[in-house]
């Protein structure tokens, strides 16, 4: 247990990123895939803020993290609308069964 520095935060974000990739690859449900994407965006945000704190970059990193959060909100809204539409048309949200855009 050494004192906490930049590397600790980078390790956390690496592990979060890997778990997000794992969720995207293994899950069938489209909403679970979205959760994986959110995990990945969070890990990227941790990186931005960690470098903004430990590097000599001012506060640009924190601002870009804010932009990422805004884009994540927009992405989640659009993606869930698409998922609802797919469910209405095809009665399933499993991404391996949705192989055409319209029945």
């Amino acid at each position: 247990m050494v004192t906490v520095g930049l590397t600790h935060f980078l390790i956390i974000s690496t592990l979060l990123f890997s778990m997000g990739i794992y969720a995207i690859i293994t899950r069938k449900n489209a909403v679970m895939v979205l959760m994986g994407v959110e995990l990945i965006l969070n890990s990227a945000n941790i990186n931005f803020i960690a470098f903004s704190r430990f590097g000599n970059f001012g506060y640009n990193g924190q601002l870009i993290a804010l932009f990422v959060i805004v884009l994540a909100a927009a992405e989640a809204a659009i993606a869930l609308a698409i998922v609802l539409n797919i469910y209405k048309n095809l009665s399933t949200v499993n991404v391996d069964e949705v192989d055409n855009l319209k029945e």
């Binding site: 600790h8 990123f17 909403v31 993290a65 805004v70 994540a72």
Partner: protein
């Protein structure tokens, strides 16, 4: 080992353990609730990095907005009455090996890279600083994000109602 390190390890454990449960739990509603703890832990890490405003925005937008949206998505696309809320999994073996290798390479890169760390300043309240940056240097990005949110709102409403 001071109190900062202790709080860091607490939030790190909260984040990583709940994220692990998110990606391994079979029940998708449980996954959504574990995601709540992940977002909360990440907000705590932001606070430890001196980003108080981003932490609050994370709590408001992620926990208050995106997580509720995801739960709506789960509830609207699964039949709650018959127990068909479990999510199937595919590619478990290859995904475990691939992601394990990927994480190993990334961890090695992080651990062995010669990071240059500047002298740490005392964390200050960032709300005013971020507001100034947003209104001066980044004002074009700010306006574009407003337009993107408007388009996303209209698009989501029109797609979902079709």
């Amino acid at each position: 080992m001071n109190i900062y390190d202790l709080i860091f390890y607490l939030f790190a454990a909260l984040t990583l353990i709940s994220a692990f449960f998110v990606v391994t739990n079979k029940n998708i509603v449980h996954s959504a609730f574990y995601l709540l703890f992940t977002f909360f832990g990440v907000a705590g890490i932001y606070v430890l990095l001196g980003a108080d405003f981003v932490a609050i925005v994370q709590l408001i937008v992620y926990v208050g907005g995106i997580l509720i949206l995801l739960l709506f998505g789960v509830m609207l696309t699964n039949k709650i009455t018959n127990v068909e809320i479990k999510t199937g999994t595919i590619n478990i073996f290859s995904a475990t090996v691939g992601v394990g290798l990927f994480a190993g390479v990334l961890l090695a890169a992080v651990l062995y890279a010669p990071w240059k760390v500047s002298v740490l300043q005392e964390p200050v309240s960032t709300t005013g600083i971020l507001g100034n940056l947003l209104m001066n240097e980044y004002v074009l990005v700010f306006e574009l994000l407003g337009i993107i949110l408007l388009i996303a709102l209209i698009g989501a409403a029109s797609i979902a109602r079709r």
